[in-house]
């Protein structure tokens, strides 16, 4: 199993589009339907009349689906690892894009010794290593950890919390 893979039932439930998840080496936000790469034979439609009829009834009763619309059930792009097959996947942009260095610096401030961990942005990270580390001015490298304080507006746009964006 691909290390950056989700089970099908995860993608259509808790860990679907908009979910922030920890992959083994990256924290990402799962892309929406416009970021589902359906290549080769990965595009299919589940033929399940009972569910589609029930969903149409529910959504139309709530005025969330136009009366003339008919639903279909395309599953996410299934990872087909057959040799020669075109890759199918869900694009998952890195998120959050702010990080804290694991390396602790000791600096002197107002005559006092202060320990701190530096806050860095995605664009500050080391490009030669796939942006997984931060390089200090003296050449030392530090692993970084994504900042977990995030917020979302009423329309679902995600971002860092105000505390970290001021």
């Amino acid at each position: 199993m691909n290390k950056n893979a989700q089970r099908l039932s995860q993608v259509v439930s808790t860990f679907g589009p908009g979910a922030m998840i920890d992959l083994p080496t990256r924290s990402v936000i799962v892309g929406g339907l416009d970021l589902w790469e359906m290549k080769g034979n990965s595009f299919s439609v589940i033929s399940e009349q009972r569910i589609t009829v029930r969903l149409e009834q529910l959504l139309k009763a709530q005025s969330r689906l136009d009366e003339s619309k008919v639903l279909s059930l395309p599953p996410p792009p299934i990872n087909d690892s057959r040799p020669g097959g075109l890759p199918s996947y869900v694009i998952a942009p890195v998120f959050p894009a702010y990080f804290v260095c694991d390396h602790v610096e000791t600096v002197t401030s107002s005559g006092r010794s202060v320990r701190r961990r530096r806050l860095v942005r995605w664009q500050d990270l080391d490009t030669t290593g796939g942006r997984r580390k931060f390089v200090f001015d003296d050449g030392k490298k530090s692993d970084v950890t994504p900042i977990r304080f995030v917020c979302a507006c009423d329309k679902g746009h995600a971002g860092l919390s105000a505390r970290f964006t001021r």
Binding site: N4, Q6, I21, N79, I91, A92, P93, R131
Partner: protein
């Protein structure tokens, strides 16, 4: 396979409907086709026809077992009743050696975790572009 049948045909869904399969040739064919369609032909020894044959044998065993168990007047179900009045048994059930050979074929665990397809995640930079020099994503 049992789950496929109960899902495709509402008439097979209730626990006591396990004996109905013999009267549902269309459902039986749909069950076989659904399973054969899901398996890549190149991964099956003997190809799709061999798999269809295996599924047919299982369906025959299902009908034979349901007929034999309900012939004595007992209610036969999928899994809610005690053995032998149930079709399905867990892999380590101690009753399995006492069942008839066709009945012994219906042993299955509850988890589908290991047979579920996966969806690959492709991490990109925050702007959606591929991340260069990312050895962890190679």
């Amino acid at each position: 396979m049992v789950a496929v049948g109960r899902h495709l045909d509402p008439g097979l869904t209730p626990d006591a409907a396990v004996s109905v399969l013999k009267n549902r040739p269309a459902t039986r064919a749909a069950m076989r086709d659904a399973i054969v369609k899901r398996a890549p032909a190149s991964a099956i020894p003997g190809g799709s026809e061999a798999l269809a044959g295996l599924v047919d044998n299982l369906l025959d065993a299902w009908i034979e077992t349901a007929g034999a168990q309900s012939a004595g007047g007992n209610v036969f179900g999928y899994a809610e009743r005690k053995s032998p009045h149930r079709l399905l048994h867990m892999p380590l059930a101690t009753e399995i050696p006492n069942l008839a050979p066709p009945h012994q074929k219906f042993v299955a665990g509850r988890s589908t975790r290991d047979v579920e397809p996966t969806v690959a995640m492709n991490p990109r930079d925050p702007g959606g572009k591929p991340i260069a020099n990312a050895s962890d994503l190679a």
